[in-house]
Symmetry: none
Subunit: 304 residues, 2 copies
Amino acid sequence: MYDLIIIGAGPAGLTAGLYAARFGMHTLILEKNFVGGQIILSPTIENFPGFPGGIKTGVLIEKMQKQVEDLGVKISLSEVLKIESGRDARKVFTQDETLEARTVLIASGAYPKKLGVAGEDKFIGRGVSYCGTCDGPLFKDKEICVVGGGDRALEEAIFLTTYAKKVNLIHRREEFRGSDILKKEVGRNKKINIILESVVEEILGEKKVSGVKIKNIKDNRTTQVGCEGVFIFAGIHPNTDFLKSLLQLDKDGFIITDQEMNSSVKGIFAAGDCRHSPLWQVVTACSDGAIAAHSAHRFIAPYR
Amino acid sequence: MYDLIIIGAGPAGLTAGLYAARFGMHTLILEKNFVGGQIILSPTIENFPGFPGGIKTGVLIEKMQKQVEDLGVKISLSEVLKIESGRDARKVFTQDETLEARTVLIASGAYPKKLGVAGEDKFIGRGVSYCGTCDGPLFKDKEICVVGGGDRALEEAIFLTTYAKKVNLIHRREEFRGSDILKKEVGRNKKINIILESVVEEILGEKKVSGVKIKNIKDNRTTQVGCEGVFIFAGIHPNTDFLKSLLQLDKDGFIITDQEMNSSVKGIFAAGDCRHSPLWQVVTACSDGAIAAHSAHRFIAPYR
């Protein structure tokens, strides 16, 4: 019987593991894909406090992983299929086994949403990408499109100019939603061509991407932009499908908690990108994880 | 007119400044004493994610300060005496001047109440601590004293048995004030030695703590207890006296906010140790600051 099973090894899960280990809790972290989670999709992070000038995301995650593993917490690669909650314990079902824990922390993160247009699925890995860090280098000296208008889209558009000769930044509103500092940086970057009030209708190509068909939403005219890559940053979807109806979720599927990270089910906590929150950042995920571990530690007091 | 004035240059205020600057907000940080705040009382921090093996607190704070100053945010040494809130702006009164801002973030921190005994100040960071979560691991297999009788003292005493070989729990009354569940747990923990109706008269040592002199308040006899650490939990007091009756506070003076860091007054936010919160840590303060800056940025949107 574990004191705490943490589902997800991103910043929230890793920080929860760090705190739980320091609280003396018998803790296991389960991770479905790879340590780090969604943040690995960004090449560098400039707004995590303590790293002036920024830090490569992979390096930050390695440091967090070392910090929790140094305390003896094991990170196991395993997908959770289901959770059941009893009076004194929770059962966690993976492909291979059924584990028991007094408390469970869901820190399962989120993943990027698709546009849902023709050609998108067909060309994933052949020009369509949701990750500049992963695929940017494939488009050296080529023309690409970036779709979206939030911080992530702006950051990625700027980053992708490192490789691409031209970046068409396509957004459906008349103004970007992202922060001013990024808007300014986008505005003065000569490699970025801004296309506002426009939506992608189709991703074109034969064997790989050759362009996109876009529609201006004011006059409904469609045009084509030739490009070899399309990077899509259209929002995120929480990894909470496996919870089914176990917990209270918001309309977008994010887990609702109180300020102590309690979900609607006793003994189950949530932290990070999968949680309904006013802001999803690495530092907020870490904080969620610390608070959740603290709450879990208090929860198990009667069983010690 | 500033977009945001931040009161306090600890981790909460510095992270809020970092985020606000990136949001393009005209921001000023005011600090009464010294950059860093309460955390400077701990020599090193081991539970801030991203620093395996820990980091010297002063170094972490320098990094955070550089990160926000690199973005052009000014930190001004000045004590705030009063805040007044109008419809469209807030006035911040310091000794020297009256400043105006659309929004104000109170990140003024808190301080641990001292016992006020000989040796206490001398040995801060050399055996005397006000935070078990921060400094507990430094006392692995050592004998320590914990002073206090409330929930926090009992929780910390239990927590510290994870590391210490023996914890002397010293309280001046004949019974602890803490909750029953914690009293029971303390009672059955074999590593905890309870010393009631006793007060610490002096903290002893040469270069670092070697023991405490305690007096039994019934018979006035003094004895010495040998120990390498003294953890003092005589209460934490938030730096909110200057707010007088402006905001809703809890019974201990901590500012009550919602999850977006809104205080009870529009345009005034709170973050970090001065905020009513389930856990006060550097990482939670940073997260509070990021969220508060984000909320302040949304708040000023109609004025841009």
